[in-house]
Assembly symmetry: D2
Homo-oligomer: 318 residues x 4
Amino acid sequence: MITVSIVNVTSYTGLELLRLLAQHPQFTVTSVTARIVCLPHAAAAQTAITLLEKGTKVVDLSADFRIHDASVYEEWYKHTHPAPLLLETAVYGLSERYRNQIKETNLVANPGCHATAAILGLIPALATGLIDPDIIIDSKTGISGAGRSPSFTTHYSEANEDVSAYSLTGHRHLPEITQELEAAAAVGGHPVNGNLRVTFIPHLIPMTRGILATCYADLKLHASQGVPTTAEMRALYQEYYANEPFINVVDQPPHTKWTYGSNHCFIHPVVDVRTKRLIVISCLDNLVKGASGQAVQNANLLYGLPETSGLASLAVFP
Amino acid sequence: MITVSIVNVTSYTGLELLRLLAQHPQFTVTSVTARIVCLPHAAAAQTAITLLEKGTKVVDLSADFRIHDASVYEEWYKHTHPAPLLLETAVYGLSERYRNQIKETNLVANPGCHATAAILGLIPALATGLIDPDIIIDSKTGISGAGRSPSFTTHYSEANEDVSAYSLTGHRHLPEITQELEAAAAVGGHPVNGNLRVTFIPHLIPMTRGILATCYADLKLHASQGVPTTAEMRALYQEYYANEPFINVVDQPPHTKWTYGSNHCFIHPVVDVRTKRLIVISCLDNLVKGASGQAVQNANLLYGLPETSGLASLAVFP
Amino acid sequence: MITVSIVNVTSYTGLELLRLLAQHPQFTVTSVTARIVCLPHAAAAQTAITLLEKGTKVVDLSADFRIHDASVYEEWYKHTHPAPLLLETAVYGLSERYRNQIKETNLVANPGCHATAAILGLIPALATGLIDPDIIIDSKTGISGAGRSPSFTTHYSEANEDVSAYSLTGHRHLPEITQELEAAAAVGGHPVNGNLRVTFIPHLIPMTRGILATCYADLKLHASQGVPTTAEMRALYQEYYANEPFINVVDQPPHTKWTYGSNHCFIHPVVDVRTKRLIVISCLDNLVKGASGQAVQNANLLYGLPETSGLASLAVFP
Amino acid sequence: MITVSIVNVTSYTGLELLRLLAQHPQFTVTSVTARIVCLPHAAAAQTAITLLEKGTKVVDLSADFRIHDASVYEEWYKHTHPAPLLLETAVYGLSERYRNQIKETNLVANPGCHATAAILGLIPALATGLIDPDIIIDSKTGISGAGRSPSFTTHYSEANEDVSAYSLTGHRHLPEITQELEAAAAVGGHPVNGNLRVTFIPHLIPMTRGILATCYADLKLHASQGVPTTAEMRALYQEYYANEPFINVVDQPPHTKWTYGSNHCFIHPVVDVRTKRLIVISCLDNLVKGASGQAVQNANLLYGLPETSGLASLAVFP
């Protein structure tokens, strides 16, 4: 058994790690060594440094090592980067994109929940050059995404029977989304050359878990070709994710409820023939594939275990 | 007192009319004459015809008379228009746009709930020529919008703790949205000349009441001018709606909860300076300003009463 | 117009008073004089004293003047009573029981929300001597009853999709329930002579508004009579509340949703013939009949206005 | 691997079985043989008979074989018992009570969800003769308990933000509760001799999963002894359930949320010293320990597997 310790286990992501690791065949949670860090930004980095110096592998659930460029980090997180030297080592922990790099590192920067849903929904189209780099992401999240500290925003009587948008002037997941969409386009041979324009607006939904990102982009129109059909687009997505155990490209609008407690992400691309736009619905459980489940997936990669170890359980439905 | 009768009063919009008319100083509900029709499409038109022939004024909450062009209606509603001759008489009942025409007609086509939120959010920018006619409307609705007939979609255990998109290949509110956005642009002196491209995706949210439409459009960039600020955009919206008793242009993201049981619509325009896009959040109670409250507002206009009669009550909060 | 001021208007009961008074024909809210006090216990009494000395009539929504016996108050509220001399003047503001006394006083102690539901449900049976004084009250409340201060208990992700009991060793509404049940039995000619045994257990329900109290008591069995039928019991309740504008004795299990935003209380008595017990379901909106609506009802009585002034609006349904 | 088939797998209990069996190390679900039956009453019995004749072991989730006395069954379920001869073979599948008998039978009658919560909460006190046989059970259930067929009762807009009681004249789980409480008292040496009086009132709560039963009974007062303390009562309960893997006797009021998706039952007994009553709060997930989880527990017993096989996963929280 490999010992794991969770820093800040009373957070929702910490508790969720505990639940997932309890059913993991190789990892056993102890209080001695820390490998998976559920601390707020900056505090997490300090802990990570200490652990790395001891030779411990770390999955960091904070944002501290997600952004490659320290100055971008500092612009969005409003403080000096606590460990800029580690940024070269850190791998962005979107397992589907970087599994080979994750296997080789000792520091994984686990992605943000909104970012995971949006990036997974958009990269097949960007990597194949099918859409213009003008993108709108309208994301809807359950309230557990706001964490466990009581506040007015998360007060039951205020949040129940309510929808609202937040962070309209710029949410902190935007720079990692931008970084990863650019990277996917470049890797696919369709670089956006600084032309990416992403508007990302998150909304708070009266439910505990779940994120559903609705992504919009214009289809590139080539002189010789018409607009692809929804079936063609879906086939392309299915091929792109053909070997992914946690990505399901589906032929009907997915429900966040299908992902409750599971590490799966459901993606549904649709072509709006009237407007020649691509619409992609992408949904997942913000505490599992959007946080702790992906952290376990990354820890499996760090230790050479099967990527799905401890993550096989089905969604709790209804 | 003016007598009113509600056809199909056991629907949610019928019940809501009953509640609103109970506090109305001039209207009294009787079972004799029908003026406000809460029937499904096509059935509503038949009733409306009978009533109009008797000389009764009608507010029709169905979609039968919303679309000026019978062939567009038939394309979207999949049956022959039941009364095409009445389409010239019928006025689209968005009170803020057509109050003068409503005062002169005897047949008001009450708008759809999603349509009301989206149109009110977008027309100031279109009428002043500030945005390109490429528009995305991501709308979120409470479940009462699906009506009172039990179904799988509205089954509590399926709908609770869930978000999903629906009608991805085209929702029936799209043609009235398109019609009214084109009209507003033309009236404002900035006609779109058939170039309007609207993608409208509705989502089902686990709450009973409320609609929040998040609207996205590129700002037109004029050589001589920079991008307007959010404050300038808000000022423009506030001026556009300066005399409207039910439209509130606000400086923070509005909550559907602020509208619970009231006829108010809250609108929050924001300029995304990174992408030079306009984002407009518009929200209302789907059963009040999105249906029965607007019907009362229109009935007030039909009878020359103060437009706010019976609609003064504040939102129920929390 | 009579001027009213609300102390601590940002509380949920304060906001609800604002909503109700906005539609009141005789009261107008100003910031000058204070008549309706929404402060926590003890703080409220201090304000009340100051106001009364100025000759102002006061409806106090705190518990400070509900308990006639200062020593009982001190036992339950854990501090010295702030104004014991006022206890003789104060009238317990259950309007249906004490309307004549309320008309004559200048200090009304507005009842607790759980207490209002339970007392209204039980007094017809106690006053007519039909039940033994061994009573169980299982009460279910929406989360707005916990007030507006964020806490772990009211944190959305903790409270959603959850039911729990609280205050199992004794909730503060118990002494006022006991006091009023004893008084009703005595007034009806069936005094309980210190034999009253009330167990009262409140539960937190994942909804914003509403209280439903399920009350259980053994029927008294008289040698000469059998067990009354449900229909007979209902007839007795209907007669007891025959002239009450806000009390509805109904022949099916009531729903808290029927009371949303309204001042009505629905009561459904049932005889369990197997066990010879009486079961009474009583429900209301905790912020209206359970707090601010009843405060307005009492203010109407204080000023000789029609008791229903400003309280006519129907429940918001669904 | 032992093959299992689920009859009527699209019901909520069928889907939940599928989820639980997917993580079971010994059972594998096939479509060939049926061992676990999720059909409505009477239909289930017919299927069970066919399967038993083939030599298949059956766990029946319907009520058909729960009641030992066919005439009681017929009184409550309003039809002739479909297989009275099997009643002698069938074992009531409350695993904690009847595990030895279950190991020897081939037909298990899986208990009702309300019944499981209430019986587990009450039997330690009844078996030890600590309470009078006058019992009140106030049970609160999530809406998935009403099944998957859309109806008015389960329509989201009607059920959301609402609490109501139902089956006030007698719920079908009452006879199995009565039967099992009597049996537990007798086995413990404190038979109730036909004096058991149980009032059981279920309530519908706006959440998907969870049952919380609040049970009330008078403590027996012995001349020589005082009232036991809460600590003493808890110790007694803890001893009674000392070896039970799924029963947790806890020292604070439990939350249904603690059981979400898990097979655990939390029990909290409290002595109300004012009234000398015992209050027991008992909660579980109605679809797991209240249905499919208990079915797996019983299937484990039927096959001589460890009782916790496939049931180790923690609750999904929050």
